[in-house]
Amino acid sequence: MALLEVNGLVKHFVVERSLFGRARAHVKAVDGVSFSLDAGKTLALVGESGCGKSTVSRLVLRLIEPDAGTVRFGSRDLLSLDADALRKFRREAQIIFQDPYASLNPRMTVAQILTEPLALHDLVPPAQRRERVAEILRLVGLEPRLARRYPHEFSGGQRQRIAIARALAVEPKLIICDEPVSALDVSIRSQILNLLRELQDRLGLAYIFVSHDLAVVKHIADRVAVMNLGGIVEEADADELFAQPRHPYSRALLSAIPLPQPHAKRAKVVLQGEIPSALDPPSGCRFHTRCPFVIDRCRTEAPALVTDDAGHATACHRVSELPPADTILPAAAGFSPALAKLVAAFSRKTEGANPAGVGIQSARPTTT
């Protein structure tokens, strides 16, 4: 049975009211989104700014209330839970935010940040909480002695580790990762991605991984849902989606990612025009204003998300007529032989060294 089942989720935000308080304009942030997630797996939600991916992640936790739809977590219907039951549910589902500079309270020490969830859910008797905090810190690759420090004394990568530790403190089954590495430098990004995967293997966590970066998603996801303007346009297993993207929007996203491979041979789909506003989404298929394969039907009739036998779902009228995606896919070139050897040597040598990021830098953050 699926751990999480989301059905027909809708959220419209009111952006303008009349003098008498009647809603005059809505942003259709999420408009009929359904998916399910198994325990221990990772579902990635990808799309551009404003596509509704972050709103979905907040709806799933009921941090904001949906206008319609259902969310089932195990055997519970989340939307019918009262405040008490909701708090119990939050023990099982946690969230990590994008910006570790904003998501940690600057007036609390790391120990206080990590003790709070333990006390709130009364998980560990007071006498043992210190020991438990030390244990959690070790789990995310930080030294327990750092518990007495304040967030400003840590670098961005270390702060994200603390945010992960806070989420882990209550031993959740599901963690929502909302762009957890977007604010981090490349070398730090890989540490956090490795850590998330390691924790998943060890603790059997399920992730909803919200990201705009398909290369990162390819690295971490089991299943991928591509969102555009409030709706899912394609959903498939990660390997399948990256090998055979179907929806023109997924293809455009894939082809837009610059490859770290000079003179890579692939055709580019450069979308023309701007991302339409969610305030006034296009009629019919919401991608039709930018779609290179648009026909008249797309302008009037919204395509349904149709799942084939293999579990690959696409919302496109022309899915059977589209040319193969081979030309836009990157050749599986990867590292040159020399580089592959060097990277392997680099990784081998650093293994067994100090766990990542254990040291502490001086109080001066290294930002430009």
Partner: protein, 327 residues
């Protein structure tokens, strides 16, 4: 052919309020030829943006000490009078910043802001400047530029604003364009549009470009040559193909190994352990030594020089060429 811009032994020190001196940039040598694109790569705090601000003469004089030489077309920019710099900036030297939201003045129309640049450097009538501004907006693919020119920045989306910034930078056909993370704040599909535009403009105008970025994918797509910076120094400089196929500095290897790639799936990404050194007290030897898996005792004793590995390819590592270490 002599380079358009040549930086020799550039050093930048910041004097803090508490008397602490931060070595932001140390002995940087760079040159860019006409029509070439140089990528300046590195992580936060490595000195890449500070280097570009030094070229533009935009660092605060009271707290910054800049030494060395930046020769641009016969001028030494570090010794040039303020008036000379003002004549060069926006004219023959232009810059695009990362944040299109904050680098446009919200209380003037985009037309006013482009026209101001043209009138300042080229003179002529306001009417002809306006025509040129419309033409520039058309060149950066802004739809119906005749109408858009009278709009305020807040009416435009992020991608549009970045196009306006580019149009403004191109207003006087600069010989050198510095682009500091020009696409970092944009969505991938918009990033692809802007990168395409930059390639197009480079081909049309023949300007030299210095592209500052942390994204190695962007570098691979647009640059001819790459300089990798770490803790204020250039640690490797190479033609783009060579940097990606046979990097010669361990830091570059770590960076290349740590990015998730679309063209392969690694079980485990490489990581660079440890921290960037505190630049108020830079280490005596190689600045990467504390994080380097190939470190020798000699590395920590004296700062390594930049050595030639192959024509046009230099590395600040005493263990280069690195192939020997793995064969």
């Amino acid at each position: 052919m002599s380079p358009l811009i040549e930086i020799r032994d550039l050093r930048i020190r910041f004097h803090g309020d508490d008397g602490r001196i931060t070595h932001a940039v140390d002995s940087v040598d760079l040159s860019v030829a006409n029509g070439a694109t140089l990528g300046l790569v590195g992580e936060s705090g490595c000195g890449k943006s500070v280097t570009s601000l030094a070229i533009m003469g935009l660092l605060p004089k009271q707290t910054t000490e800049v030494t060395g030489a930046i020769r641009f077309d016969g001028f030494d920019l570090l010794k040039a009078a303020d008036q000379t710099l003002r004549d060069l900036r926006g004219n023959r030297l232009a810059m695009i910043f990362q944040e299109p939201m904050t680098s446009l003045n919200p209380s003037f129309t985009i037309g006013d802001q482009i026209i101001e640049t043209i009138l300042r450097h080229r003179g002529g009538s306001r009417k002809s400047a306006r025509e040129r501004a419309i033409d520039l907006l058309r060149r950066v693919h802004i739809p119906s530029p005749e109408r858009r020119i009278d709009e305020y920045p807040h009416k435009l989306s992020g991608g549009m604003r970045q196009r306006v910034m580019i149009a403004m930078a191109l207003a006087c056909d600069p010989q050198l364009l510095i682009a500091d993370e020009p696409t970092t704040a944009l969505d991938v599909t918009l990033q692809a549009q802007i990168l395409e535009l930059m390639r197009e403009l480079k081909a049309a105008s023949g300007a030299a470009i210095i592209l500052i970025t942390h994204d190695l994918g962007v570098v691979a797509e647009v640059c001819d040559e790459v300089a990798v910076m770490y803790a204020g120094e250039i640690v490797e400089r190479a033609p783009v193909d060579e940097l990606f196929s046979a990097p010669q500095h361990p830091y570059t290897v770590g960076l290349l190994g740590s990015i998730p790639r679309l063209d392969q799936r690694a079980e485990q990404l490489a990581t660079i352990e440890g921290m960037v050194p505190n630049m108020a007290q830079p280490p005596a030897g190689c600045r990467f030594a504390a994080r380097c898996p190939f470190v020798l005792e000699a590395c920590t004793r004296a700062p390594p020089p930049l050595v030639d590995v192959s024509p046009g390819h230099v590395s600040r590592c005493i263990r280069a060429p690195l192939e020997i270490l793995v064969s």
